[in-house]
Each structure stands twice: as structure tokens, then as C-alpha cells.
């Protein structure tokens, strides 16, 4: 712009060029629209007849063929989840003009209960783009015949042969197996995000809990497709081509359903959990959470009454206590504390104290559960007789940081990584944890007094039975920690190819062999001459154990816990950890009976019966025990 002449000339020329280009663009637009019009003319005038007939008569519908879901078996091949065929009466809502009238008229042909109606309405509200929804399931042969005769009256209503999921063992292992339920709008969104949407066309059900959910990808299978000619009313005339579906894989669990059954029977009406592992492989032999629930209720969409009964029960049957219930370990923590003391050089097998029945920390008196104390207590006796005073002092000597570091190695306060959804992490108390957990500065501070009760598995300690079971299994396995897993192998139904799932090492904890041996020997002593001796009287194999009692309520400085005066739900939890045989452990377990009182009383006999069954095949006689039985107070040392 510095020279006034040349740009002006340029400007004129540029404008001319610009107008030319706009004109060219305008012509191109017209040409392109002309091309489109020509195409429309071709489709809508020249080829109209062919397209009109394709639209009117020969509609090709792509019908998805849902695959059969894989089976779930126990380690011995017993079927835990299977498919049975049955007839359903389904309504394609989009093709029904007057839904109310159709429902009323259908009611004259087959029985439709108010419950069926309300379930249908719920499905209608919850399902997106459903092709058809069931109004009745499991029709009798007679009902099928009656509807078939009246079918012409009901356009859009059809009988379909479908496969239903069935769980033959009812509420046994229900938290392991889980259940399936209808695909929800949220599931649908997840499919879209993970791009498996196409494979779920035609699939109405999806695993919602347990192995059914965590192994959904294996169990589901591959959807096939059928090209079907349909008429103007949308009815199929003939199949043009077919790509078959491939069934889902069969899953064999590590669970022994008989062991599981025995363990669950031993709980009776009591609440609680039990986790039994094979120490050398991480295989879960039994995983109990009581009360259970009947998974068959969920398959067809649970009705409101059953749901609220399950959901509102104070026993919380929907909760998988084994992996999501958090409990203080009580004295079952002591063997690990003892091992920590040995490994860190804070105690030797010969270290001993004189136990007066309490530990004084400043002003505060930490009481032993045995009034008057255990007298002379060395490390061995501290486990066998379960001395609290010994571990109060030990915790104080070790300090919270060392305890937290050591217990972290044994998996306390971390998810075990078991192949189930919804596992809780628990709480391994430490100053860092407290800093993160609380907001107020005075709450964030770790007080030295809080370390004391950590030593006997109380205080902030909170772990799942699965974590406790894994810790015992790891101890039994000399520090080699294997991820607990529920699946032994996966079998492709079509090819018969079997894929065994390998044990997965979590970590190898470096421990001195003589220290591990010492703790194992002391735990064997528990069952021979200690707090577990009564439950393990006359046992023909070698076993190691530790009782535990977890407080539910706090007890004042000058009060004594009197079980008879405490409401049943506030009574102590009864725990027991064990493994057997001691030399070459085949099974390790953690058992917990909620509000069962002393560990020696409720959990130890239960653990004994499970070990007896697994190692000897001895089926226990179960005498039904009332949860609120009058407590005997003779046992001591928890």
C-alpha cells in the first residue's frame, strides 16, 4: 500500500478475478444440484418400480440370532448355571396399535397376572429400542396351543422359544455364580462405548453379578444373523441366508460345590463369610457369604416384592461379605504381628513378658481379655493362649509405620484381585491413611495410643474375609502369594479347546524360613493345646489355626463386656483362620461368624468341619444352632 498506483490496479484486477470465481462457484453449485436431481430422477422415476416393489413386498429384515450362553460348572463338572428352553409370549410394542386392549384380550387366552403386567410395564419403561418384550414367560404346552389357535387376533404378539438361565443349586454359592438380568439402558451405553453393540443385538440378558458378570465376555458368545424376507405387516416369510451364532464358552470354577454346600450348611441361619483357598495355586475352594440369595429370582426381572425383601433385609443378603464385608481381624492378626516382630528383630522366640492382665500406656489401661492376665508369656504362648498384653506392648515397640509396612506385604488393606466385581479394599491403618481419610486436622493426626489396639487386630483395622484368607494362604505357602481365582479353565464349546488359567503370582515375600516355621508351629499349638484345642479335639491330620474375636462395640475403661447384656447384632464377631495339613498345606481358610461371640466357640468348630470334609470327606452332622443361643462363659483368651 506504500505505492498508491499499483495496488489500485491490482485491486481492480483482483475484484474481477474474485467475481469470476464466485460465478464459477455458483455454476458448480447448480451443476452439483443438477447431478443430485438427475440421481433422484433415476431412482424415483426410472427405477421407481423396482424400488417400490422392494419396499412394498420384499423387505429384508436382518434378524440377529442370539448365542447360547456358556455354562458354569464346578471343579468336578457339576452344573451350576445352565440354559433350559421354554416358551415366552412376546409383544412387539411398535406394531401394536392399542396396547391396553391387546393386553386385555390376551388375558382371555392365557393367564396374565397383575405381577406379569407390572413387570412388563417396568421392562417397557427401562428398555431402549426393544424389538419385543415378554408379557408371560414359561408358558405351558396348553397355553401355547391356545394362543396358536388365536394368533390371528393378535398382530405383533408372538410365541417365542427362548432359553432361560437356571441355577440348579439355588442359593448355594450364589455370590460366586451371580446372576444375569435384562440388558439395561446403562449396559447399552457401555456396549456402544466398548463397540460390542453389534454382538449384543438380540441379546436380552447380561451377567449382573458374580462370575456371570466378571466373565461376561467369555460366557456371552458370538451373535449370528439371519436375512429374512418379511411382508408389509413385518412378518417373516422365508429365510434367505444365515450366519449361525457361536455359543459362549463354558467356565469351570475352582469351587467344589459340595464343599461349598457343606460350609454354607454349617452357617445355618447365622450371618458370616468363609474363604477357603488352595495355598499353592490361589484356587478358591469355597467362598461363602451368608445369607445367600436365590439367583433364579433375577433371571426374568425380579418382582418388586422380592426385591424390596432382599434390599431392605437387615441381614443384607445382596452384600457379598466375603469380598466386600469389612471386619477387624481381632486376634487372627496376632500370628502376622509375631512374624513381623521376628522378621524385624523386635522379638526372638525366647522373648517373654510377665502379663498382669493389662498394658499401661501413660494414663490409659489396655485390658487383656483374661482378667488377671496369662502370667509368664513367651512368643509361642502369646499365640497359643492369645495374650493381648503381649501384643499391646509389641505394637508399641514396633510402631505403626513398621506394622503398616509389614502388613501391606501380606495384602492387608488391598484388593486381592479376585475375579469378582465389587471387591472392597479395606483399611490398613497408618498415619498416611488417616491423613487422607479425615478432613479435620485434629482427626488427621495419628496418636501413639491408637497403635496399641492395632496390635490385637482392633482399632481402625478393617479387612475383607478374602484378604484374611489370602494372608493365611500366603503364610501357609511360605510367603509366596498367589492371586485368588475362581476359574479353573475355560472351554470353547464349538472346538472343544480348553484353556486352563494359570496361577498368578502377586509377590514373593522374603521371609526367614525359621521365623515362618516358628509361627506355623505356634499356630499348630493353638489347635493342639490352645484356644482352638476344644474345636480340634481328636483331629487325625495336622492343622494350624488362630481364633479371633472382633469387637463390634467399644467398651468403657472400667466396664466389662457381658455378652448376655448386649443386643445380638452388637455382639462380637467370631473369627478363625486355619490351614492343614501343617507340613504341606492343601487348604487355607478364614471363617467369620457375625455376632458369633468368641472365635473359639462359633468359627473354630465350623472351620474344623470344613477341613474334615475337605481332607477326610467327612460329612458333618449339622445341628441347627440358634443365632442367639445362651452363651457359655467358660472359654477365655478369646
Amino acid at each position: 500500500m506504500s505505492t498508491p498506483v499499483a495496488p489500485l490496479k491490482d485491486h481492480e484486477r483482483e475484484l474481477r478475478e474474485f467475481r469470476l470465481r464466485v460465478a464459477i462457484a455458483g455454476c458448480l453449485v447448480l451443476a452439483a444440484f443438477g447431478l443430485l436431481f438427475a440421481r433422484f430422477f433415476q431412482l424415483q422415476v426410472l427405477q421407481h418400480h423396482s424400488y417400490a416393489s422392494r419396499a412394498e413386498e420384499n423387505r429384508i429384515a436382518i434378524v440377529p440370532l442370539a448365542p447360547n450362553r456358556g455354562l458354569i460348572l464346578d471343579r468336578n463338572g457339576a452344573v451350576l448355571a445352565r440354559n433350559v428352553s421354554g416358551y415366552t409370549l412376546e409383544i412387539a410394542v411398535a406394531r401394536v396399535a392399542d396396547l391396553e386392549r391387546t393386553l386385555a384380550e390376551l388375558g382371555e387366552v392365557v393367564e396374565i397376572q397383575p405381577r406379569d403386567r407390572s413387570r412388563f410395564r417396568k421392562l417397557l419403561a427401562e428398555t431402549r429400542n426393544a424389538e419385543s418384550l415378554p408379557i408371560r414367560t414359561r408358558l405351558t404346552d396348553e397355553e401355547v396351543a391356545r394362543f396358536a389357535a388365536n394368533r390371528y387376533r393378535f398382530p405383533g404378539v408372538e410365541i417365542k422359544a427362548r432359553l432361560f438361565r437356571q441355577y440348579p443349586h439355588g442359593d448355594t454359592a450364589s455370590h460366586v455364580i451371580g446372576y444375569i438380568g435384562r440388558v439395561s439402558a446403562r449396559d447399552q451405553e457401555r456396549f456402544e462405548e466398548s463397540r460390542v453393540e453389534a454382538n449384543y443385538r438380540g441379546t436380552d440378558f447380561i451377567g449382573k453379578a458374580g462370575v456371570e458378570a466378571s466373565y461376561e465376555a467369555e460366557l456371552h458368545g458370538t451373535t449370528g444373523f439371519e436375512q429374512v424376507e418379511i411382508d408389509a405387516a413385518g412378518r417373516g416369510i422365508r429365510t434367505l441366508s444365515r450366519t449361525p451364532s457361536h455359543p459362549g464358552n463354558n467356565i469351570t470354577l475352582t469351587i467344589d460345590i459340595r464343599l461349598q454346600e457343606v460350609a454354607e450348611r454349617l452357617f445355618g441361619e447365622r450371618r458370616g463369610a468363609l474363604v477357603a483357598l488352595e495355598p499353592a495355586s490361589g484356587a478358591v475352594l469355597a467362598l461363602v457369604s451368608r445369607p445367600g440369595l436365590d439367583p433364579n429370582l433375577f433371571v426374568e426381572g425380579i418382582d418388586a416384592a422380592s426385591w424390596s425383601a432382599l434390599n431392605n433385609s437387615p441381614d443384607r443378603p445382596l452384600n457379598n461379605r466375603a469380598i466386600a464385608g469389612l471386619y477387624p481381624p481381632g486376634s487372627t492378626f496376632k500370628p502376622f504381628m509375631a512374624l513381623a516382630a521376628l522378621e524385624l528383630g523386635k522379638r526372638t522366640p525366647r522373648s517373654a513378658i510377665q502379663d498382669p492382665g493389662y498394658f499401661l500406656f501413660g494414663e490409659r489401661r489396655f485390658r487383656d481379655s483374661k482378667p488377671g492376665g496369662h502370667g509368664y508369656v513367651d512368643l509361642y504362648k502369646s499365640i497359643v493362649a492369645s495374650s493381648d498384653t503381649f501384643y499391646y506392648q509389641l505394637a508399641n515397640d514396633l510402631g505403626i509405620d513398621a506394622i503398616a509396612r509389614f502388613m501391606d506385604r501380606f495384602g492387608f488393606g488391598a484388593r486381592t484381585g479376585i475375579d469378582l466385581e465389587g471387591e472392597a479394599a479395606g483399611v490398613l491403618p497408618s498415619p498416611e491413611w488417616k491423613l487422607k481419610r479425615f478432613r479435620q486436622p485434629e482427626q488427621q493426626k495419628w496418636y501413639p495410643g491408637e497403635t496399641i489396639s492395632i496390635g490385637i487386630g482392633q482399632g481402625y483395622n478393617a479387612y475383607t474375609p478374602a484378604q484374611l484368607g489370602l494372608a493365611v494362604a500366603t503364610l501357609a505357602n511360605d510367603g509366596v502369594m498367589l492371586r485368588p481365582r475362581l476359574v479353573e479353565r475355560i472351554e470353547n464349546q464349538r472346538t472343544g479347546e480348553r484353556r486352563a488359567l494359570e496361577p498368578q503370582l502377586i509377590r514373593k515375600i522374603l521371609l526367614r524360613a525359621e521365623n515362618v516355621e516358628f509361627v506355623k508351629r505356634a499356630m499348630a499349638g493353638v489347635n493342639r493345646e490352645g484356644t482352638g484345642a476344644r474345636a480340634f479335639a481328636g483331629v487325625p491330620y495336622t492343622s494350624a489355626g488362630k481364633t479371633g474375636t472382633a469387637q463390634v462395640i467399644g467398651i468403657g475403661q472400667h466396664e466389662r463386656y457381658d455378652e448376655r447384656r448386649v443386643a445380638e447384632r452388637l455382639r462380637d464377631h467370631s473369627l478363625f483362620i486355619a490351614f492343614a495339613p501343617v507340613e504341606r498345606p492343601r487348604i487355607a481358610l478364614a471363617a467369620l461368624v457375625e455376632n458369633g461371640g468368641f472365635g473359639a466357640r462359633a468359627a473354630a468348630p465350623l472351620a474344623r468341619a470344613v477341613l474334615d470334609y475337605y481332607l477326610l470327606g467327612k460329612v458333618p452332622e449339622v445341628q441347627p444352632r440358634k443365632p442367639a443361643a445362651e452363651p457359655e462363659l467358660e472359654e477365655e483368651g478369646d
Binding site: 500500500m1 495496488p7 483482483e14 475484484l15 478475478e17 474474485f18 467475481r19 470465481r21 464466485v22 462457484a25 455458483g26 453449485v29 447448480l30 452439483a32 444440484f33 447431478l35 443430485l36 436431481f37 440421481r39 433422484f40 430422477f41 431412482l43 424415483q44 422415476v45 427405477q47 421407481h48 423396482s50 424400488y51 417400490a52 422392494r54 419396499a55 412394498e56 423387505r59 429384508i60 436382518i62 411398535a94 456402544e192 462405548e193 463397540r195 444373523f225 436375512q227 408389509a232 413385518g234 450366519t243
Partner: protein, 370 residues
């Protein structure tokens, strides 16, 4: 009383000023056709029509606001809008939400936005700004810089992957370069180079994108997958005939043979129900919209205004052409909505803001014809 009427009339006048009649009438007619078609396509979810009416209200307000920003204001906004769009595109690549397998949406706490939508307007404005700034002399180097400004956002969008939007944004940018006067020789060379790079580019495409292009050549190859859309939409169009099956009578749409019938494939529903005649009306309306835009382009006062108006006008054309071509089976299936007609608030707002910009440029046109 009379005074009150006067203020009312004045208020109405104020509301109308800077609003271009022909543009508004054409756009509203198209939007009306859209609502009618949407009503037919939404027999299963009537709430969509109300939602779209609300979207239209918002879009009109956005248009009104845009029309009141003078071109100098737009000139100042161009660079920041482009930069914001670019930052959001990068953010989407890093933390975007995945919907339907593509990472296109960004959560901003209060709302989800699709940054590629911002680029549809920001890129042509940015390029117009760039050429305007270097008005005196335009060397090949300037075109190279412009190409870079164009390629960065286009490649980011293509990576999401959203090939359709990338192509449209790229086209809008190209139109600016074209109107800015890039030499024909250079264009011809680029076209040749483009043709030569088809093969290497093929390797960069996603599997599903390749399938879409292949099935375009022969939709019957894959009737279950990618070809399904094209087969069913051409059946819908073809079966419509000259006069169509009548409003609400389209069987292809109502028996759910047309996928995405509210959004990208709404033209199939329209075409089935209103036939060749309806299609002709739609083509004429789009031609009027684009024609009015090009007239505004010719009268625009500054280089920036000329380039922006020209690119926006051709952008409307491109959207309409690509969408209808896709439904009619002569262009690949890319996710492009039919302007003013398809269901969706974001796209509608973008288009009406574009119309508002055209109106603003028209308000500040050259008054003396040379």
C-alpha cells in the same frame, strides 16, 4: 395508547433490523420442513420434536446475536475463536468422551461440547482473517501458511475419527483459499498430487472407513454391515416416486428400515414421503440459500467479508450436497447432517450463526457499486 403502539412498533423494528429477509425465510422454511419430517420419523419418541423446536429457538437467538456483530468484530474474533477451537480439539484428543467408538465430545463440567463444531465456522473465519491481514500481496508462501492453518484442525478431527466433519471443515477452508485467488495452475498441480496420493492415504484410513468407501462402490457387498444404510436409504428414496407416499406414510421409515432416521438419514424419510417433487423443492430452497449467500459475497465490503461470506455460502451447499448424495447412494456414508433439517441442536446453532454472519456482512456491504 398510541405512544405505546409506537414503542412496540419501534421495538419490533429494532428486532428486525440487520436481519436479512430472504435468508431468514429460506432457512426457516427448511427448518419447518425439518420439523415436519422429524415428526414423521419420531413416532416412537415424540419428545424429539419439542426438543428440536427448543433447539431452533436457541439457534435463532444465536443468529440474531451474530447478525449484530459488525464484520470488524468478527475479524477480531477470528483468531481467538480459532485458537480456542484448536485447544479444545487437542483437549478432546486427550480427555474426550468416547461415544460410538469415536472421541468427539468434551466435558466442560457444565456441558458437553463437540469442538469440531466450533471449527466449522472458526476455520474459514481464521483463514479469511489471515488473507485479509496480508491483503497487499499474496505470495505462494501465504497459501502455504493457510494450508497449514487448515490442515492442523482437519487432521485433528480426522483422527477422532470423524472423517465426514474433517472433510467438511477442510472444504470450508479450501473455499477461502480458492476465493483468495490461489492460482489455477497451483490448484491443478494440487489436484494431480491429490489423485496420486489416493493409494498412500488408503493405508491411513480406519478399517471401517475403507469398508464404507468400498461398499459405496458396491453396497450389495456388505448388506449386513456398512452397505445396509445405503441399500435401505436408496430403497426409501426410490420407492418415494414422483409424488411420494405422503406425510407419515413412509413404510421404510416406520418399519425401522432406515437407520439414524432422525439425524443423518432424515432425508431418506423426507424423500420417501414427498417424492421427487419434494426433493426438487428442497434443492431449490438450498439453491436460494446459497445463491443469496453468493450475492452477499459479491457485495461484501472488505476482503475478509468477501472471503468469509463466500466460504460460508459454499459450506451450506457442501453440507446439503454431501448429505443428500450420501442418502441417494452416490457419496460415501459419512456422518453429516442435512443443514437445518436434521435433528440436533449443536449443528443447528452452528448453521444459524453462519447465517447470522452472512447477515452481518450484508448489513455492511459496499453501498457504491463499482
Amino acid at each position: 395508547m398510541a405512544a405505546g403502539q409506537l414503542t412496540l412498533r419501534r421495538a419490533a423494528l429494532r428486532l428486525r433490523e440487520r436481519i436479512d429477509g430472504p435468508l431468514l425465510v429460506t432457512a426457516l422454511t427448511l427448518a419447518g420442513i425439518g420439523l415436519m419430517t422429524l415428526y414423521s420419523a419420531s413416532y416412537d419418541a415424540p419428545a424429539r420434536v419439542n426438543a428440536q423446536i427448543a433447539n431452533l429457538g436457541i439457534a435463532l437467538v444465536a443468529m440474531w446475536v451474530a447478525a449484530r456483530i459488525p464484520p470488524e468484530g468478527l475479524l477480531r474474533l477470528a483468531l481467538p475463536a480459532y485458537l480456542i477451537g484448536l485447544v479444545l480439539l487437542v483437549a478432546v484428543a486427550l480427555f474426550g468422551d468416547v461415544v460410538n467408538g469415536a472421541r468427539r465430545w468434551l466435558h466442560l463440567g457444565f456441558a458437553r461440547v463437540q469442538p469440531s463444531e466450533i471449527m466449522k465456522l472458526a476455520l474459514p473465519l481464521m483463514l479469511a482473517w489471515y488473507f485479509h491481514r496480508n491483503e497487499g500481496v499474496l505470495r505462494l508462501r501465504d497459501f502455504a501458511v493457510a494450508a497449514l492453518l487448515l490442515l492442523v484442525p482437519v487432521l485433528l478431527i480426522a483422527r477422532q475419527p470423524d472423517l465426514g466433519t474433517a472433510a467438511l471443515v477442510g472444504a470450508a477452508g479450501f473455499y477461502v483459499i480458492f476465493f483468495a485467488g490461489i492460482r489455477w495452475r497451483v490448484l491443478a498441480t494440487l489436484a494431480l498430487l491429490g489423485a496420486a496420493s489416493v493409494l498412500p492415504l488408503w493405508g491411513l484410513l480406519h478399517e471401517y472407513q475403507r469398508r464404507r468407501i468400498l461398499t459405496l462402490l458396491d453396497p450389495t457387498q456388505d448388506p449386513l454391515g456398512a452397505g445396509y444404510h445405503t441399500i435401505q436409504s436408496t430403497i426409501a428414496v426410490g420407492s418415494g416416486g414422483v409424488l411420494g407416499k405422503g406425510w407419515l406414510q413412509g413404510t421404510q421409515a416406520h418399519l425401522e428400515f432406515i437407520p439414524e432416521r432422525h439425524t443423518d438419514f432424515i432425508f431418506a424419510v423426507f424423500s420417501e414421503e414427498f417424492g421427487l417433487l419434494g426433493n426438487a423443492v428442497l434443492l431449490v430452497l438450498y439453491a436460494l440459500l446459497v445463491g443469496r449467500g453468493l450475492i452477499i459475497t459479491l457485495r461484501a465490503a472488505s476482503l475478509f467479508a468477501r472471503l468469509a461470506a463466500g466460504a460460508l455460502s459454499l459450506m451450506f451447499f457442501t453440507y446439503a450436497f454431501v448429505n443428500m448424495g450420501m442418502v441417494a447412494g452416490i457419496l460415501p456414508v459419512v456422518g453429516v447432517p442435512l443443514p437445518m433439517v436434521s435433528y440436533g441442536g449443536t449443528a443447528l446453532a452452528t448453521l444459524f450463526v453462519g447465517i447470522g454472519i452472512l447477515m452481518s456482512i450484508h448489513n455492511h456491504r459496499r453501498l457504491v457499486q463499482t
